[in-house]
């Protein structure tokens, strides 16, 4: 069914070697901000946010093989939960993150149950996820409780505030917050892949009928993947709001957001733990490169809005090139090269 994944149809091995390498990378990422100028710190923070979304997408789109084209739904639910709970009920964004994640997981379970129940597969499933995200966007646009199309501004409290994770003075703290959330997502992925659930998911992805015949309940394991995926993608949405202090229906639920979310894992390598990280890193560098090239100020909000035409052209071209020349992403290319060297 899903050949992008069939190309990786060897069993996923996330051996202790990978986990050790992952720990080393996380430690490097943790000390990196002490050696970064302020500008690159901001680039790295946004890159980690995309890595978190990508890691979330990868659980469902990569390991479980349920290609989602509407992950903006989860991202937006996370973002709006944090924004609404903070501005209307003065709840800390930390609580907002948890509630947003839970709501996104619930939304994923509900829509996933409907879709899987009616046996939507492949492109039909992708279109359904897309439609659900678009519906949320339209509903958000028409709901006065969340300010309709105007969006929600997060008030600045000034100074450094851990309870609200707003850091005007020491922006390194924002970086640590998103790194922490990313580590949670990576740990969850490692757990998921190594646990029995992960093996079942991969079995279902590669051949659902065969897996079902062996007594694996496809619906159950697909739903676990969707819920986890929704939860962690929503965390990125919550962080987004606290970092950029603004959210509106297009920034939260727009189709472009869904594209941005799946771009990193696909460029990096679908269904691999490294894919979203590598993809986020490479695209951050490329994006900054283009921006410096056209000498524009680092307007990070523009990144999601897609105002910068050259950026979008570059990302479009990259996506086309990756699909034609390296459908298993950068990680896949590296693996093939290494296998070639060994022989």
């Amino acid at each position: 069914m899903s050949g992008l994944f069939k190309r990786l149809a060897r069993p996923i091995r996330l051996g202790s070697k990978d986990v050790r390498a992952l720990v080393v990378v996380v430690l490097l990422l943790a000390v990196a901000p002490f050696f970064m100028p302020r500008f690159w710190l901001a680039v790295a923070t946004v890159a980690l946010m995309f890595a978190l979304m990508g890691t979330g997408w990868n659980m469902m789109g990569g390991y479980a093989g349920q290609f989602s084209f509407g992950h903006a739904a989860y991202f937006g639910i996370g973002a709006y939960s944090v924004a609404v709970l903070l501005t209307k009920y003065l709840l800390s964004p930390w609580v907002g993150l948890l509630i947003g994640g839970a709501l996104a997981a619930l939304f994923g379970l509900a829509t996933g149950f409907l879709s899987f129940r009616y046996k939507l597969k492949g492109p039909y499933f992708a279109l359904a996820t897309f439609a659900f995200a678009e519906m949320l966007r339209l509903v958000a646009n028409g709901t006065s409780f969340i300010n309709k199309a105007i969006g929600i501004h997060i008030p600045l409290v000034g100074g450094d505030n851990w309870a609200r994770f707003q850091f005007e003075v020491n922006q390194r703290n924002s970086y640590f917050v998103i790194l922490f959330l990313l580590v949670l997502a990576l740990a969850a992925t490692v757990w998921m892949v190594r646990a029995r659930a992960g093996h079942y998911m991969v079995a279902i992805r590669d051949d659902e009928d065969a897996a079902a015949a062996l007594g694996v309940n496809p619906l159950r394991y697909k739903l676990i993947a969707v819920a986890l995926s929704g939860f962690f993608t929503a965390l990125a949405g919550g962080f987004y709001v606290q970092y950029f202090l603004f959210i509106d229906p297009d920034l939260a639920f727009g189709a472009l957001v869904s594209v941005q979310i799946l771009l990193r894992p696909i460029v990096g390598g679908v269904g691999t733990i490294w894919g979203p990280l590598v993809g986020a890193g490479v695209l951050a560098l490329l994006g900054e490169g283009t921006r410096t090239l056209v000498r524009q100020p680092p307007a990070f909000l523009g990144f999601l809005q897609g105002v910068n035409g050259l950026d979008g052209m570059l990302f479009g071209a990259i996506l086309v090139a990756v699909i034609i020349f390296a459908p298993d992403g950068i990680v896949g290319v590296v693996r093939r090269l290494r296998a070639g060297i060994r022989q």
């Binding site: 899903s2 939507l120 439609a131 339209l138 950026d311």
Partner: protein, 338 residues
């Protein structure tokens, strides 16, 4: 996936089901409207007329998308971006060269055909036979690229043109049409009326092309069984090129036709793309007459949503219908279950 074959002949049973469904929807709508009739009949008539008028354009756009899906097995996310290209081409012709917007059809249709063939030859042919997801992502990348290219070339400022003779009178024999015409109390503007007529004409031409010509027969053969078609001497690769070209030519025409009453922007075609997905799923992926009927159904849904759910977006009703269709009848109203 057997339902991906281009079906131009209806399957009697399923067509009947489809007709019953459409009829039931129409009845419910009519019943609901009956109570309102006294106070709302003008609004209602306007919604129905507007829905049918814009629905014809949706049909044209969706037929192109459905054809490409049926023959090439590709969900073309770049369909809307190509429509934006056509709109800008027509816009430049009108603004810079003073050409009549309807005359621009002579340029946009062949030009988009050529662009479509070029895209198929360079980008999509290398990955033909690859899984659907890859092609979805490929056309998505293409769409990002085209939209942003337009953004770089024309900036994001929405533009529009005025039709100088929009409120002219036309004597057609005994019939004297004074635009904007009133039809059952509903206003029909000249650009929309022309879009309706020309869209239907082109849809008819496409239908005849597929049904009555050697090329059409070859396209249908390639859709149903590429290997079999190859065996009887059809150059399937060439058919793929032509088919993608025809699909693009459909949005080429649509771009010119909506220019007089729609804004032009890099993402202007996007709405049409989304609606075409809905139409194609509703009508059955790959079904040409399904796309035709689905276009009108979506046009009506969109306009009636605004009456029955005031203050909401037009598209809410469309998406509700989309999700229902995906869940209950993913093979489409005219498709057959496989």
């Amino acid at each position: 996936m057997a339902e991906t074959a281009v079906e131009t002949r209806g399957r009697s049973r399923n067509s009947w089901i489809a007709l019953v469904v459409i009829g039931a929807v129409a009845l419910v709508v009519a019943a609901r409207a009956a109570g309102w009739w006294d106070s709302h009949h003008t609004i209602f008539a306007q919604a129905v007329v507007s829905g049918l008028l814009i629905g014809s354009v949706y049909s044209l756009v969706s037929m192109g998308l459905s054809l490409v899906f049926g023959v090439l097995d590709i969900i073309n996310f770049a369909h809307g971006a190509l429509m934006s290209v056509a709109m800008y081409v027509a816009f430049v012709l009108v603004r810079s060269y003073g050409i009549d917007p309807y005359l621009s059809l002579v340029v946009t249709i062949p030009l988009l055909f050529i662009i479509g063939v070029a895209i198929q030859a360079t980008i999509i042919n290398p990955v033909m036979g690859a899984p659907l997801h890859n092609q979805l992502l490929l056309t998505l990348g293409l769409s990002l690229f085209i939209q942003n290219l337009l953004l770089v070339l024309f900036t994001g400022t929405p533009r529009s043109i005025e039709l100088p003779y929009a409120s002219a009178s036309f004597g057609l024999g005994p019939l004297n049409l004074d635009f904007p015409v009133r039809l059952f109390g509903a206003v029909v503007t000249l650009p929309k009326a022309l879009a309706f007529v020309v869209s239907l004409l082109l849809a008819g031409v496409l239908f005849l092309l597929l049904q009555r010509t050697r090329l059409g027969t070859a396209i249908r053969a390639a859709a149903q069984d590429p290997e079999g078609a190859e065996l009887v001497g059809i150059d399937v690769r060439r058919i793929y090129l032509v088919t993608f070209g025809i699909g693009a030519a459909c949005v080429g025409a649509a771009g010119s036709l909506i220019l007089p009453f729609f804004f032009v922007g890099p993402t202007a075609g996007e709405t049409f793309n989304i609606i075409a997905f809905v139409v194609v799923v509703l009508g059955g992926m790959g079904s040409i007459q399904g796309a035709l009927a689905g276009g009108f159904l979506i046009g009506l849904t969109q306009e009636l949503t605004q009456i029955f759910v005031p203050g909401s977006s037009k598209l809410i009703g469309v998406f509700v219908l989309f999700i229902l269709a995906l869940l209950l009848r993913p093979q489409g109203l005219f498709g057959s279950r496989t």
